[in-house]
Amino acid sequence: MESGRLLMAGNEAIGEAAIRAGCDAYFGYPITPQNELTAYMSRRMLEEGRVFIQSESELAAINMVLGAAVSGKRAMTSSSSPGISLKQEGISYMAGMELPGVIVNIVRGGPGLGNIAPAQSDYWQATRGGGHGDYRTICLGPSTLQECVDLVYLAFDLADKYRNPALVLADGRLGQMMEPVTFDHLPEPNPPEKPWALTGAEGREQQSIKSLFLNEDVLEALNVKLGKKYDEIEKNEKRHEEVRMDDAEICIVAYGTSARVAKESLKRARDEGLKVGMIRPISLWPYPYEPIRAAADRVEFFLVPEMSLGQMIEDVRLAVEGKKPVYHTGRVGGNVSSAKEILDALHDCCEKN
């Protein structure tokens, strides 16, 4: 693999980032628009002498990740929306068993089979647990390919640090587009010791990893312990970017591909004299409520462009606590708003306000 700046497709850049992060095993199943990622791994993982399996299903893929994680190894699976729904069972078990692992979702239109075009309609599933039980998954939302690289690398570190599944929530556009990326700045992976891993009971007592606790008090203790871990993640791992927020009177809140487009709308609005700024959540869970809450005291209203009928907008409203109007705009069904459409929405909101 060359060094320097490389022109790569998003799906391939994500795969290479996982390899640079020391991913020992990758398990995948074909689904558009993420097939290039599985194909890339089928070649590169073998070149690196690591494990690649094309599994019989998404269920099998996530459970192979679970098995590799039980062994103390770094593992990843990727898919797109319908496949991620199937993985929720395994993700819930991994949360309960406190197993690290990275899951990449190249989101496409839904519900159901939907289509193969980019969407942001899996936000609720990605940030609210997704499977059964009281748990959280770390969720990172890149908006450029370089950020895809950096956040995939970070996802492995955070998953290990907190013994928790970590999701990277991208979309079909990020997966398919090409941009220059570099891997040169990524340090050599340094996974923590994993004394809990099942490696054979050599010179120690046997140990097991499980999520079944029939005694109510024992399960409650696990739930409380998980809650404390989630508090710790919320305290340490919130990430966001602010654009022109210093003098902003209007605040856009957007993530991922929507934020890319909204940056252009913001520039055009500024050219017109509208004082627009943007807060871009990078960690979608834990969610950066505080900068949005602080902005609610300064700006007139919020506009939330999303490629969904409005999902992240609920988090913005939780942050704003009714202090200012929060408006939604966006295209759905695999469509992506243009910069002009978001600018028009800004004008509409100014009139309403």
Binding site: A25, S55, L59, A60, S208
Partner: protein, 260 residues
């Protein structure tokens, strides 16, 4: 399960020695259940092969979900039926370890059918110990994929009817069609002689894995007196006289001969 002190006082037959791999605790299994026998046989073979410290097992969802309390080896849980997928993940990243799954008929032949077929088809170098007692025990005795025709269960109160409920699945025969399977044998826990044969099959399955020959599965026809509504001795007769008609005993695949 709650009579720990009583169990400690029980006099053991002469010559009885508990395998190191078998933890000295009472199990939660019902009287006359076959799980305890297979747990012990697996423990004996692990001891004899000296692989206790390099073995990782995957417990199923079902009656044997608590298996990690009974073996002195590393054991993980798996979601229902995904047991072979979890074992695949473990074995692929730790090829030097001995990996086996322990699964019931619901886990293996109903909800986990895809996982077992594809693990066998890939020739995963793992052992599968498959307890076929033709019923879902943990959940109260419902119809299993291996429930035989006319068998009464909680969900086939009038007996299993072919036209309504379909037929019992013969797992060894099914997997024998796949080139990836290396060793498949069906044994019964119905008599001391058959129990000794069962142990030999377990030993062979581990040998196959240690030789790197690929996927091995031993199916145990196992008594469930509780949900067969029988006395334990009658349940053993039922295994021989009834179950073995639907599920004939024997070796269905053996690639070791061609490798030797």
């Amino acid at each position: 399960m709650h009579s720990t002190t009583a169990a400690k006082k029980t006099k053991r037959p002469r010559g009885y020695r508990r395998p190191e791999t078998l933890v000295d605790v009472p199990t939660h299994y019902c009287a006359g259940c076959g799980h305890g026998i297979v747990h012990r046989l697996i423990a004996e073979v692990i001891d004899e092969l000296g692989i206790r410290e390099k073995t990782v097992a995957v417990a199923p969802v079902g009656c044997a979900v608590l298996a990690y309390d009974y073996w002195r080896i590393d054991v993980t849980e798996a979601p229902h039926g995904r047991t072979p997928a979890v074992a695949t993940g473990i074995k692929r990243v730790q090829p030097d370890k001995v990996v086996f799954t322990y699964q019931g008929d619901g886990d293996l032949a109903a909800i986990g059918t895809a996982e077992i077929v594809h693990a066998a088809n890939r020739g995963e170098n793992i052992c599968v110990f498959f307890i076929n007692n033709t019923v879902y025990g943990m959940t109260g005795g419902q119809m299993a994929p291996t429930t035989i025709l006319d068998q009464k269960t909680q969900t086939t109160p009038g007996g299993r009817v072919q036209s309504v409920h379909g037929n019992p699945i013969r797992v060894c025969e099914l997997l024998a069609t796949l080139d990836g399977s290396a060793y498949l044998e069906r044994v019964a826990l119905s008599s001391p002689g058959n129990v000794r044969k069962a142990k030999r099959a377990i030993r062979k399955a581990f040998d196959v894995q240690l030789a790197g020959l690929g996927f091995s599965l031993v199916e145990f026809l196992s008594p469930c007196p509780t949900y067969w509504r029988m006395q334990p001795v009658d349940a053993l007769r039922h295994v021989d006289q009834v179950l073995a008609k639907t599920f004939p005993l024997g070796v269905f695949k053996d690639n070791t001969a061609s490798e030797a």
